[in-house]
C-alpha cells in the first residue's frame, strides 16, 4: 500500500507494552510509518501488540489487548474464513476504535480501490450488481461508512423459526437499487466496535422494560442475551454475532469451526478501546480523571447510573482544577473544565423526551422529563442497561429529515403498513416511512419500527460518522440533531462542552 495517500493522519505511535502508563506525548512519525501501522489488512501476519495508539483529529485513541501480544497469522479474527477475502479485522480497525471510519474507507479506496476486501461486492458496495470498479457504487461506504445489511423478509428468529410480520414493506424509492427482491430488505449501517464488549454483553437486570419481558435466551449459548448487540438485535451473543457476520459479510458457507468461533470471541473480549489523550485536554487519566482504556478495562460492567452516582463522573475531578495564575492562560485547563461541564450536563441537562417509541410508550409517559443519561445510562460506556432499542427518529420520518441527517436522500425509503389487528407504531400510526425499520426487521412488530439499539460512546473520535446510518458527520452534528429533535435549546457553550466530552471518551 502506498504511504502517501492516507488523509488527515499526522502522527502515530505504536507501543507494544502492557501495564505501563500511557505515553505522555504523541510521537510524530513519517507518513510511511503511519501507512504501515494504521490499516490492518487480513492475513498480514503482524503481531497485534498489547497496546496500540493511533492519532485522530481529537488526540490519541488507544486499544489495549489484555492477553498481551497476539500473533495474527492464522488467527480467526484476522483470517478470511469465508468465500471472499474479508476477515473480521477488515471492518474492525484498531485506529477506528475497533470499528470503521469513513475516513479509513476513503483512504483504502484511494490506495487499492475496489480490489480491497473492504469493498467486497456483497456488502461493501451499495449493491452487488453495480459496476464494482466505480466509486459511485460504493458511495454509502465511502461517504458515510455504511455497510449493506441484507435481512430476510419475513424475519427469521434467532432460533430459526419464521416470524409472522405485522406489516408489509413497500419500496418508495431506492437510490441503491438493491431492494428489488421482496424476500430481502437491504439497509445500510455503520459497523459497531468489536471492543469493550463486556459492557455490551453485561446484563444489568433480568427484565427488559422496553419489551415488557424478561431477557431472551440466546439459542447459541443457552444463556440470557443482553440485547445490546447489533442495531436490530438479530443476534443475542458474541458467538451468534460472529456466526451472522461470517455467513453474511465473509460469505462463509455452512457453519464456522467452533474453535475459530471461540478464538474470535476470546479475542474480542480482551480488547478495550478509548480515547487516551486529547489534543487540548492532554492525557485523560491525569488530575484525578479516569479516562482512557485502562480504567475502562477494570471497571464493573452493566452498572446503571443514577442521580447519586451519575455517568461520566470519572471526569468530574476536572471541575476542581485550579485556574492558571493571573495573566497566564492554560488551554489544557479550559478544555478539562469544558469536559467536566459536558460530563455533568450529560446527566443534568433535562428536556422533554417525546414521541420516542421504546421510551415514551412504556409507562414513563409521553413526554417524560429526563436527560441524555435516560438512554445512555450504563456507567463508563453510555450503553442502555435496559437494553436500548429506541426510536429516536434517526431512521423514521419525519425526524430523519432534520437538517443534520445527511444520509436521508441517499438511502432507500420504505413505506411500512401495519395490519389492522396489530398494535401500530405508538407515535407514528399504521403507516411509517423509514430508511431502516431497525429492530422491527427482527421482531416483525409495528411497535419496533425504527428502533435502533443504543451504541457505546467510547472511541467516538476515531470512528466518524455517527448514528447507525452515519447521518451525523461530526460529534457536533450529533449534538445538533438531539438539540433539534427534542427542542433542548442548548447554548453554544453547552454544545461545545458536550462535544468535548464525547471527544474524550
Amino acid at each position: 500500500m502506498s504511504a502517501r495517500t492516507w488523509i488527515g493522519v499526522l502522527a502515530i505511535v505504536v507501543v507494544a507494552c502492557t501495564g505501563d502508563p500511557p505515553p505522555p506525548v504523541v510521537q510524530a512519525v513519517t507518513l510511511a510509518a503511519v501507512d504501515d501501522a494504521r490499516y490492518w489488512a487480513p492475513d498480514e501476519g503482524r503481531t497485534f501488540p498489547a497496546r496500540l495508539d493511533y492519532a485522530n483529529d481529537a488526540g490519541v485513541l488507544t486499544t489495549l489487548n489484555l492477553a498481551g501480544p497476539t500473533e495474527t497469522k492464522g488467527h480467526a479474527f484476522f483470517t478470511p474464513l469465508g468465500n471472499n477475502s474479508r476477515a473480521c479485522i477488515t471492518c474492525h480497525q484498531p485506529a477506528d476504535g475497533m470499528g470503521l471510519s469513513a475516513a479509513t474507507a476513503n483512504a483504502v479506496w484511494q490506495v487499492r480501490g475496489a480490489s480491497d476486501p473492504l469493498f467486497e461486492a456483497i456488502d461493501g458496495s451499495n449493491c452487488p450488481d453495480l459496476p464494482q470498479a466505480d466509486a459511485a457504487s460504493h458511495s454509502l461506504l465511502l461517504r458515510h461508512g455504511l455497510i449493506r445489511i441484507e435481512r430476510p423478509w419475513p424475519p427469521i428468529a434467532a432460533d430459526g423459526s419464521r416470524v409472522e410480520p405485522e406489516f408489509t414493506i413497500d419500496v418508495v424509492r431506492d437510490p441503491t437499487r438493491c431492494n428489488r427482491d421482496p424476500s430481502f430488505v437491504s439497509v445500510y449501517r455503520r459497523p459497531r466496535p468489536a471492543a469493550n464488549l463486556k459492557y455490551a454483553t453485561a446484563i444489568g437486570f433480568a427484565f427488559d422494560p422496553k419489551n415488557g419481558m424478561p431477557l431472551q435466551t440466546d439459542p447459541v449459548t443457552g444463556k440470557p442475551g443482553s440485547g445490546n448487540l447489533l442495531a436490530d438485535v438479530r443476534a443475542l451473543s458474541l458467538e451468534g454475532q460472529a456466526i451472522d457476520a461470517l455467513i453474511t459479510h465473509l460469505q462463509l458457507h455452512g457453519q464456522p469451526d467452533p474453535q475459530q468461533l471461540r478464538e474470535i470471541v476470546d479475542f474480542e473480549n480482551q480488547l478495550y478501546t478509548a480515547q487516551s489523550s486529547h489534543e487540548g485536554a492532554g492525557n485523560l487519566n491525569e488530575a484525578g480523571a479516569q479516562g482512557g482504556p485502562e480504567f475502562l478495562s477494570q471497571a464493573a460492567a452493566g452498572v446503571l447510573q443514577s442521580s447519586a452516582n451519575p455517568i461520566w463522573s470519572e471526569f468530574f475531578p476536572w471541575k476542581m482544577l485550579q485556574p492558571p495564575a493571573a495573566g497566564t492562560t492554560d488551554p489544557g485547563f479550559e478544555l478539562r473544565q469544558s469536559v467536566a461541564r459536558g460530563a455533568a450536563l450529560f446527566s443534568t441537562k433535562q428536556f422533554l423526551v417525546s414521541d420516542s417509541a421504546g421510551l415514551t410508550d412504556t409507562g414513563f409517559g409521553n413526554p417524560v422529563r429526563n436527560s441524555c443519561a435516560f438512554c445512555h445510562n450504563m456507567h463508563r460506556v453510555g450503553l442502555d442497561v435496559a437494553p436500548g432499542q429506541v426510536d429516536l427518529g434517526t431512521t423514521n420520518q419525519p425526524f430523519a429529515s432534520l437538517p443534520v441527517s445527511r444520509t436521508t436522500a441517499e438511502l432507500p425509503l420504505f413505506r411500512l403498513t401495519c395490519a389492522r389487528d396489530a398494535a401500530p407504531h405508538p407515535h407514528l400510526g399504521r403507516i411509517v416511512y423509514t430508511s431502516d425499520p431497525g429492530y422491527a426487521l427482527t421482531t416483525g412488530r409495528c411497535i419496533d419500527i425504527g428502533k435502533i439499539t443504543a451504541q457505546s460512546l467510547r472511541g467516538l473520535a476515531g470512528r466518524a460518522p455517527y448514528f447507525a446510518n452515519g447521518a451525523a458527520r461530526t460529534l457536533r452534528e450529533v449534538i445538533d440533531f438531539y438539540d433539534r429533535r427534542y427542542s433542548i435549546e442548548l447554548t453554544d457553550q453547552e454544545k461545545t462542552d458536550l462535544t468535548h466530552l464525547l471527544e474524550v471518551l
Partner: protein
Amino acid sequence: MFRVSTKQRAARWLACTMLAGCAEASAQQAGAPPPPDSTQSFVTCPVYRDTDMGRKSGCWLADDSATATRYDVTWAPIKPQVGKPLLVEGVVTSEADTCGGVVLKPVRVSVLPGSCARSIVPPESFPGRPSPPPGEVLKPASEPRTLPPPPYEKREFQIYFEFGRDFLIYQHAEVVLEKIQLYVQASQARSVLVQGFSASDLVIRSGRFLTEPIAVAKARASVVALALHRLGVPDGVVTTEWHGSPSTTDLEGGKLPESSKRRVTITVTP
C-alpha cells in the same frame, strides 16, 4: 371458561345504553367538589404540565368533563401519553394541590387507542412534585437472590394491566414475576396456574363503551407464561386459562375495583 355470544353482547350493550349510562361511575354534579375518598372513573385527553422537580417529574392532569373537575393523576404507576385518550380510575384525596388538580391517589390510568388534542401547558404557579419512587424495584442481576423461607403453601400472585393491553408494566410486573420464580424454585412447585382475565363486562365511561375482548385475557395469560418460561420456571408445571367477567381483587385495598379486573392471577401450588 367464559363464553359470550355476539347476540348476548349486543343485548347487554343495548340494555346499558337504554338505562342512560347505568354503568357510569360518578354521580357527582358538575361544579360540585368531588367527595373525599370517592372513586372517580372517566375518559379524557391528558394534559402534561411541564413542572420541573427533577427527572421524570412533571404533572399529569385529567379533566372529567362530566363534573368540570381537573384531577391530578401523577401518582399513577404508569403515565399518560399526550394526544391519546386516557381512562382514569382513582380515589379523591385531600393531598395538597401542587400540580393544578384534585389529587387522585391511588390511581391507575390506561392509554386508550385513538387520538385527541396534545396538551402541554407551562408550570404557571404550580411547583409540581418529584417523580414518586416505585414501591419496590428489581435488584440488579449481580446481586444474589434469597429464596423465600418455608412454609410453602398454595399462594396467589396478581399482575395488573392497562385497559386492553397485555404489556407487562415496568416496576410492577417484573418484581412479581421474580417473586413467583423464586417461590416456585424454593417450594419445588408441582403446579403453576396462570389465569388471564379481561374486563369483558361492558362499562360506560364519559360516554365511551369499554369492554375487553376475551382474546385479551388469553394474551395476558400467554405473555405471563412466556415470561415465567424465560425466568426458568419449568414449562411442565405451568397451565394457562383465560376468563372474562372476573371478580375484583384487593388492589389498593379494594379501592380500584375496575382496574383490578384487568389482571393475571398466578397460583403456585407446592
